[in-house]
Symmetry: C2
Subunit: 435 residues, 2 copies
């Protein structure tokens, strides 16, 4: 009988494999951070000789969720200012604090964001911020997968004097993390309204040269479209297309203010979309045409955006809100069903991160999984596990989070870092913001 490192027994196993198998009970054989086998519990017990067993008997096990658009560090601004018009909020409350930012604050804020992600079932994220080197260090410390890069702007940030410096920082991160198992690098071109055509072209060139994902906020609001038309004579998607951006492997966040023709262009380009339900609702940006994206076969993922405009880093909340908001705006209660939403949070996320080994529990895929406690009252009774994941779970039912076969969170404890020490450091975030 062949050996494996760990045999995981799950009361219910939602595989998200090609057949979308759900096994009750199910099991997973794991070695070297990868899934060797997935199937009915009895079959795997007869097939594998494990060195250790992980019994998750009354748990629902599924692939770790993938957060395709985050600014994890922004936990330091969580709840500082809400219920305000976007520009007043940004220029009056957010930018003045960000102008004083330091790498230390970014590292602490990011670790807090990653703690929340691990605690609520997220095992990988695509992140964009200033001092992104500090973000990736925090990700290494927490142990979750993170694809990040220094945010590129057309003006000085607290971290970089100009776009050239931000691109050089990104190149440095790409060298530092080349071949890393969990940390990857993307070119984070902030947006069309914070850059110039020359900067966007330079970002595209770096993405193509180093074969990095190109990550950008795109078509988030009607204001962005109006400004792009005024300054560049084109709508954002067409402006980016003309600049050759779509030649890169693109992940665009938001994609709210787009028409059918623009969706066709994006679908043909192979771009992925990171949909951010909470942020788009809270900032009144509008509803991305997700049903129309899915009809075209566009890869749609889910993101939390930053905790200053959400105010959570919890992908279960995004799943529920995605399923609900599109029914509201379309008037169609069958729009964006639960299965499509779970696909976005898993396989769609893998597509957005350009990480095809994520998003499903099947042989050869990463052993990134989470386990939810089925004894919680809101998960009973159960007829359809996927319905419960999208409509009934809050994210706080997660009892175990594993990345690459390593348990990073279990029953309130983080394995890689001292959470109590982090909580003490979080006070420094508050002092920094208010000081």
């Amino acid at each position: 009988m062949p050996e494996c490192q760990t045999l995981v027994h799950a009361g219910v196993l939602v595989t998200q494999d090609a057949e979308r198998r759900i096994l009750a009970p199910g099991a997973l054989a794991i070695a070297d951070g990868l899934i060797l086998d997935a199937g009915p519990a009895a079959e795997l017990a007869a097939r594998w000789q494990p060195r250790e067993r992980l019994d998750l008997g009354n748990m629902l096990v599924l692939p770790g969720l993938v957060n395709a658009h985050s600014h994890a560090a922004m936990t330091f601004l969580r709840g500082l200012a809400d219920d305000m018009p976007l520009m007043e909020w940004l220029t009056g409350r957010i930018f003045p604090v960000e102008a004083r930012l330091t790498a230390d604050i970014v590292r602490t804020g990011s670790l807090l964001g990653f703690a929340e992600m691990l605690r609520t079932g997220t095992t990988a994220c695509m992140d964009m911020y200033l001092f992104e080197g500090a973000v990736l260090e925090a990700a290494e410390e927490a142990g979750l997968r993170c694809t990040g890069g220094e945010a590129v702007f057309g003006f000085p940030s607290a971290a970089c004097p100009d776009a050239g410096a931000a691109l050089a920082a990104t190149r440095g991160l790409a060298e530092r993390y080349a071949g890393h198992e969990r940390i990857a690098v993307a070119v984070n071109c902030h947006s069309v309204y914070t850059t110039t055509p020359e900067i966007i072209a330079a970002c595209r060139d770096l993405a193509l040269e180093l074969d990095l994902p190109f990550h950008m906020h795109l078509a988030e609001t009607r204001d962005e479209t109006a400004r792009c038309l005024e300054e560049h004579g084109r709508r954002p998607v067409d402006y980016c297309r003309r600049l050759g951006v779509l030649e890169a492997r693109c992940t665009f966040a938001h994609v709210v203010d787009v028409d059918e023709a623009e969706l066709d262009v994006l679908a043909a380009s192979g771009a992925a979309v990171a949909h951010n339900p909470s942020s788009n609702m809270k900032l009144a940006s509008g509803a991305a045409p997700v049903a129309a994206m899915l009809r075209r076969g566009l890869a749609v993922a889910l993101g939390t955006d930053g905790p200053a405009s959400n105010n959570q880093c919890n992908l279960f909340q995004e799943m529920g809100r995605a399923a609900l908001m599109h029914k509201l705006v379309s008037g169609d209660p069958a729009s964006v069903p639960a299965e499509a939403v779970l696909d976005m949070a898993t396989l769609g996320g893998a597509a957005a991160l350009r990480a095809p080994h994520l998003g499903a529990l099947a042989p050869g895929m990463a052993a990134d999984l989470i386990a939810l406690d089925l004894a919680e009252p809101n998960l009973q009774p159960m007829y359809a596990p996927v319905s419960h994941l999208v409509y009934a779970a809050t994210g706080h039912e997660v009892r175990l989070t594993m990345v690459g076969g390593e348990v990073l969170y279990r029953d309130g404890r983080f394995s890689r870092f001292d959470y109590d020490a982090l909580r003490r450091e979080v006070r420094a975030l508050r002092d920094f913001v208010l000081g």
Copy 2:
């Protein structure tokens, strides 16, 4: 120094009193199920001699939330069918199961719903269902406050052959629970589309005779309006007004398809509205004009509706979704701010239940409170406690739930009933539905 039974020490105390005081740290003096005093911790420690102390040091304490529209028993249908058009869902999936319903199933389903409410910080609810006597028995067992009455229809239900029997059952419940500390009775007239003018008038008469709240689904969808116009020549609000319904103390659930003039009529009548964000989004019913209701001073409360159309009994989820959905539909990020939402879930709920001793922690009010664990990563750092309650909390941060000075839930344990036994009974719900 005067004695009190319990002195509660809270790291942060959100009182919801007339001044909306937030005290950090704060304290509450409790005796005989009531708040004697609320204020800064140091002041109360110097003022009261308690028989016992409850130290909730790193917790955020606030009034127990009030769920103004529930069908708690419907946990037995949770996740059975989603993502379907309303009428197909109701007639194809829900009604066939409800036709076979028994009081035992209703009792078990309700206890599960109440367990979820207590676990997520709800201390009182207004409930409508069949076999409501069994619902109120479950509420007595769980210990939370419940205002209920047999649902009145113009056709036979599994519980009652006709509306007269349902009204007789309501009268019986009113006699049984007269003067009860936690259980109260309402006349639950189901809706305009499931009754006749005669039945609505009889419901109104009973409500006026016994001075009971009149609870009804009203103006939930455009279909309801169209049908009411066709059958009765009037829109639902006007139809009810003509039948004298507004003379009673009314709580109307949903109130989605209403115009400005109808809102004026409702505001002038003193009616309360129970707004159900998740259900209205999931069934694509539309967005109730909550901002316009609040401008008129209408009492607006929050409800979860039934777990077949939500699929949770968690008022924290309703708070977050209420704050977000109205920003989305209005395009105004300042619409329905966090403070207004917390008011709905507390003081608005008290208005809907006609229970003025609920919804705030102030002298003379009920000692109904909940405590959230501030060590959870999603509640850090904290600048504005109300922002965290509405935008950052999931409901599963609740560690303690108290009703009338009695701890009903603490750290995973329910004090009044055997939760493991309930979980075993829940399997019978599933067998019943699938059998």
